[in-house]
């Protein structure tokens, strides 16, 4: 065999073909590729607003990549956090670009998430049988907002410090448990190094893990149920 046809793609390179055959002979991926990738037809009623889930996913992957890159130079201590962010922005090659992408990606992701949710809500797509997908979507929304809240503190600027003071103060208005929640969020009575460390841990470990799991479920459910019909 010196030609391999994968949907619209014609492969003649013998190395690529033998690599494909190696996987195909062991896992039988042809069927899945044809069904789910190459001959998967998108319904004709889809419009621009149907794209915002995918756009959000794209921005999330960008946030993961730029986040890992920022992590290489960022120092999560109150003494060095601000200086390390300034160092990334001004001294590291293309640091301004990586930080800018992460910053603006975070802002734009909030917008795309809400457009996506608005589309699902106003078109009634969340209704039976897609309630479970709506639930995972809400969990993802909470994760995204938590990403924003925890990430905002990390540069340790005046703005981020006081935003965190105010933000963690809000639950303390609740009777009985409020004060306990505040102390739990801050890891003490004040916003301090402990707060920075736990926000950092949540931002780079807990939330990414949660988002990956729930995006997986979110997309699996769409694949299982199909995209909803037109209005």
């Amino acid at each position: 065999m010196n030609e391999l046809k994968l949907g619209p793609i014609l492969i003649r390179n013998r190395f690529l073909i033998s690599m494909y055959n190696f996987v195909e002979n062991r896992l039988g991926i042809r069927e899945i590729l044809d069904l789910e990738v190459f001959y998967k037809l998108a319904p004709s009623h889809l419009g621009i607003f149907s794209c915002f889930g995918g756009i959000t996913f794209f921005i999330f992957t960008l946030q993961v990549i730029t986040g890992i890159l920022l992590l290489i130079y960022y120092v999560p201590t109150t003494a060095q956090a601000y200086d390390s962010v300034i160092h990334i922005t001004n001294n590291v090659s293309f640091g301004w670009l990586i930080r800018g992408l992460h910053h603006w990606g975070a802002n734009i992701m909030i917008i795309t998430v809400f457009i996506h949710m608005g589309k699902i809500y106003f078109h009634g797509i969340y209704k039976n049988p897609r309630e479970l997908n709506w639930v995972t979507g809400i969990i993802l929304l909470v994760c995204t907002l938590s990403f924003s809240f925890t990430g905002y503190l990390l540069p340790w600027t005046q703005l981020s410090y006081w935003a965190t003071v105010v933000g963690t103060e809000i639950p303390s208005a609740m009777p009985v448990i409020g004060e306990h929640i505040k102390i739990f969020l801050r890891g003490g009575t004040d916003v301090s190094q402990v707060t920075l460390t736990r926000f950092f841990a949540v931002h780079i470990m807990v939330l990414p893990a949660a988002v990956v799991i729930f995006i997986g479920l979110h997309i699996l459910m769409i694949r299982r149920q199909g995209i909803s019909g037109p209005l």
């Binding site: 890159l69 590291v92 090659s93 293309f94 670009l97 990586i98």
Partner: protein, 153 residues
């Protein structure tokens, strides 16, 4: 008609191979353009400006208090500057001649000690003990006003 297509494919100048090449080049440019900033970002910043060999290198005298030592980069190599007295400074390569560890200044013993295998050197670079096969390269160092100048010996 079909003969013609086959002939063109053999010569490798048909439309399909041109378009395939165009697609390949566009992908390569896009991926390269995305990877270039990332690779530049990951490479360490240039921390060796102005310390090529030959010229005089100086640091602020306030950086090294009397009795202490400071690690600097001179001639793009780790260099240790020891300030024994107010106007008595020594500069030596800090790379141990045994296995390349960075030597440390021990003020009590007034000697340089390698933390890896305990090679010992005096302030002129001479080996006092341990496994080092050669002395440390020493440089000329002098205090001039508020600066410490370092130059080739």
């Amino acid at each position: 008609m079909s003969d013609e297509i086959i002939k063109e494919e053999v010569s490798g100048k048909d439309r399909r191979s041109f378009l395939n090449l165009s697609i390949f080049i566009s992908f390569a440019v896009a991926i390269g353009g995305a990877l270039y900033p990332v690779i530049k970002y990951l490479l360490p910043a240039d921390s060796t400006k102005g310390t090529e060999g030959g010229e005089t290198f100086f640091i602020s005298a306030d950086d090294v208090s009397v009795g202490s030592a400071k690690l600097v980069r001179y001639k793009n190599r780790p260099t240790i500057v020891v300030r024994l007295k107010e106007n008595e400074v020594y500069a030596l390569s800090a790379v141990c001649t045994h296995l390349g560890c960075i030597v440390k200044w021990h003020e009590d013993a007034k000697e340089l000690l390698c933390p890896c295998h305990a090679a010992r050197f005096d302030l002129y670079g001479n080996v006092l003990g341990g496994p080092a096969p050669k002395p440390l390269p020493a440089y000329k160092a002098a205090v001039e006003e508020d600066r410490i100048l370092i130059r080739e010996a």
